[in-house]
């Protein structure tokens, strides 16, 4: 499948998710100029420690690379609707069309 084909499919999926309320409008910022984008945020939890366990977030975000071509570690993403802000911690998936990152809210 060509890059253009894959990007087109993902863009349509993202648009559908936005209409369904399952994706969000957001602003990506890595210190250059902020970029308006659409994101899918997936929330989970994870546990650290044996005694005195701490339950923390495990949250990831999907960017369309047509909107944010090269997301960078330590950049921020802010959900427009509620101002929720995250820092990009580590990339765990990327192809020609999308880039998926683990977020940190520390």
């Amino acid at each position: 499948m060509s890059n253009a084909g894959l990007s087109s499919i993902d863009a349509r999926v993202m648009a559908s998710m936005l209409r369904a309320g399952l994706a969000d409008a957001a602003v990506y910022s890595d210190g250059v100029s902020p970029v308006n984008c659409s994101v899918m945020i997936e929330r989970d939890t994870q546990i650290i420690g044996e005694s005195g366990q701490v339950v923390g977030q495990k949250t990831s975000v999907v960017f369309l690379r047509a909107e944010v071509p090269k997301p960078k570690q330590r950049a921020t993403v802010t959900v427009t609707a509620n101002g929720e802000q995250w820092t990009l911690e580590s990339k765990f998936f990327e192809d020609e069309s999308i880039s998926q990152w683990i977020l940190n809210r520390g």
């Binding site: 005195g52 977030q57 580590s90 940190n104």
Partner: protein, 151 residues
């Protein structure tokens, strides 16, 4: 602490009291002494809680002492101190090192072990638990040992 409580429980309470003195106002790096508990606890690292998560003291495993010169009744006990703190990408390791320094410092101090028949309580090791990606907290776990005479 009631003197009728088991020695091992009294030991947990002495360690708890010792750790409660770890406050930045008293010359420590951190304020992990703010909340020190001896019962199991699971805490969320979300925004609604303070920066310093509860410190947990567990007195874990007891066994007959292996020291041939010791009193035949003497037993040894292992204790675990788990301390967590909210952290981000830029300060997680620094905070972990500060917690270790504070725990080592306070556990080096004299504590009222003698009245509860505990001898030679000492910290053996501290470990920074690997932080899972995305986790906005860092946890340190320290282990120690003490000898005691059962009541």
């Amino acid at each position: 602490m009631a003197s009728s409580d088991p020695v091992t429980w009294q030991l947990a309470l002495v360690i708890q009291a010792q750790l409660q003195t770890v406050l930045s106002a008293s010359g420590f790096y951190t304020d992990i002494g703010t909340t020190v508990v001896v019962e199991d606890v699971q805490t969320s690292s979300d925004d609604s809680i303070p920066d310093f998560l509860p410190v947990v003291v567990h007195v874990d495993k007891t066994q007959r002492t292996t020291d041939p010169t010791a009193n035949k009744r003497q037993r040894s006990v292992e204790f675990i101190i788990g301390a967590g703190v909210r952290a981000n990408l830029d300060n997680a390791m620094l905070l972990a090192h500060q917690i270790i320094a504070d725990i080592e410092k306070v556990m080096d101090r004299q504590a009222p072990y003698a009245p509860i028949n505990v001898r030679s309580a000492k910290l053996l090791s501290c470990e920074i638990i690997k932080r899972p990606e995305g986790m906005n907290a860092i946890v340190v776990q320290c282990t120690g040992t003490a000898n005691y005479l059962p009541s």
